[in-house]
Symmetry: C3
Subunit: 181 residues, 3 copies
């Protein structure tokens, strides 16, 4: 059951980041292919770098559903992004949610792959921040790390909390919950 929870959190993080990527494409007035590329790169970017660094197979090369969902989410944003009044506030809020999710799932993936506590926490931070870095570079904006390092702080705190609790033997649902707080 907990595996299902983790998988669900991972999917949620990917969808949330895909939306933020598509929102940046919207701000830059790209066409629908720009939405799909930026949304997909943002959604899968963090987990991709984590897998490459851990020497694991990149998760979406075996499960194309990730690509399909990211593309579909981006297309939905393409047709609805003009509706909300304040896209930028939504983007910041979703970014924070995605960071919290990926800090936990990234650290857990590293722990399961046999990494130690410090490396696992670093992987949590990398998974949480890299998608946004790709998005900002491809979108021609200053990377978030420059102007919003408060988010990196949050990602680090979440990853460290989660890793510490897990290694201390805490039940995973407690750790996951604490990693968000």
């Amino acid at each position: 059951m907990l595996d299902t929870v983790t998988t669900a959190l991972d999917w949620l993080g990917i969808v949330v980041f895909a939306v933020t990527g598509a929102l940046v494409a919207s701000r830059k007035q790209m066409d629908v292919v720009g939405f799909v590329m930026l949304g997909t790169a943002t959604g899968i970017g963090g987990g991709t770098l984590r897998d490459v660094l851990m020497g694991a197979p990149v998760f979406w090369t075996r499960a194309p559903a990730y690509l399909v969902v990211c593309a579909a989410v981006s297309v939905v944003v393409f047709f609805t992004a003009h509706l909300p009044q304040s896209r930028h506030r939504i983007l910041l809020w979703l970014d924070a949610v995605g960071l919290a999710l990926f800090a936990v799932t990234g650290a857990e993936a590293a722990l399961r792959a046999g990494a130690g506590a410090i490396v696992a926490a670093a992987m949590g931070v990398i998974t949480a921040t890299f998608g946004g870095v790709i998005r900002d570079i491809l979108g021609g904006e200053s990377p978030v790390i420059l102007s919003r390092e408060i988010y990196a702080t949050a990602a680090l705190a979440g990853a460290v909390t989660f890793t510490g609790l897990t290694l201390a033997g805490a039940p995973r649902d407690v750790s996951v919950g604490a990693g968000f707080a």
Copy 2:
């Protein structure tokens, strides 16, 4: 014989992208080492990311001829880039040619490595676009994806067409030809 065709297309794409990288170095008035680094990174960048993501050995680590040719092409551009009247138009044209070539050869490399249709199409797009992204980041320009996503659209169309035809059992030369159109 068809393998020879694919290899030739791959080399052609690498040379074309190396020229575009060297042309950006020329616009930035770099020295000859800047030409070599930007030309080589642009020429091999897309295929490098494709190989890393597929978990395959990076192609040029086993065949240094790729590095030598990229460097040689960049040096040639260094000594001739002042000759043409309109470097920017040449760059845009070569970029489009390189994208079409790499969209096809990237998708084919992924198919041969056992990837499914969607992943293969994504690899075609990644191979085709990433060299230019590296070039623009290292050259201090806005990434192409921002301002010229028409090219990403073309790369996606080429990769999807090629992958679809190949999986449908079309002879490869037909698929390769259609992937360019």
Copy 3:
């Protein structure tokens, strides 16, 4: 004994680059987490890309001490960066030292992994330059390669000299010394 020398040079290069990353964080007035992230990414970035391209396990995933040292160095810089009068001159000088160190240790790591001369020289250049590229991208500055390609020239010269001497059978300490000159 020479292995100890190489390891010491590698550590020295990592620390030097971590300091330059933290100095950029200082110029951008980031908080302490920004220092740690930029310092760590700069310190381990070049070696990380080298390992990924060579298909080797990424060095710091097995030895978290690298992460800890980079973070500690960054924290020290956070508390002392306001002291020196000319941070920018220090940064340029350290950058040159780190480049020379990594050009040699990067080429040697590739040679030991079985790479040929040309690939080894390329890996020396990549190891030496990529940390600084990451630092400048994350810090929102123009990548060094654009404005300071004199450093890339130096890295290339160092890597080529070292590789050539090593393959010619020169004792390693001679090659290491010459690679710096």
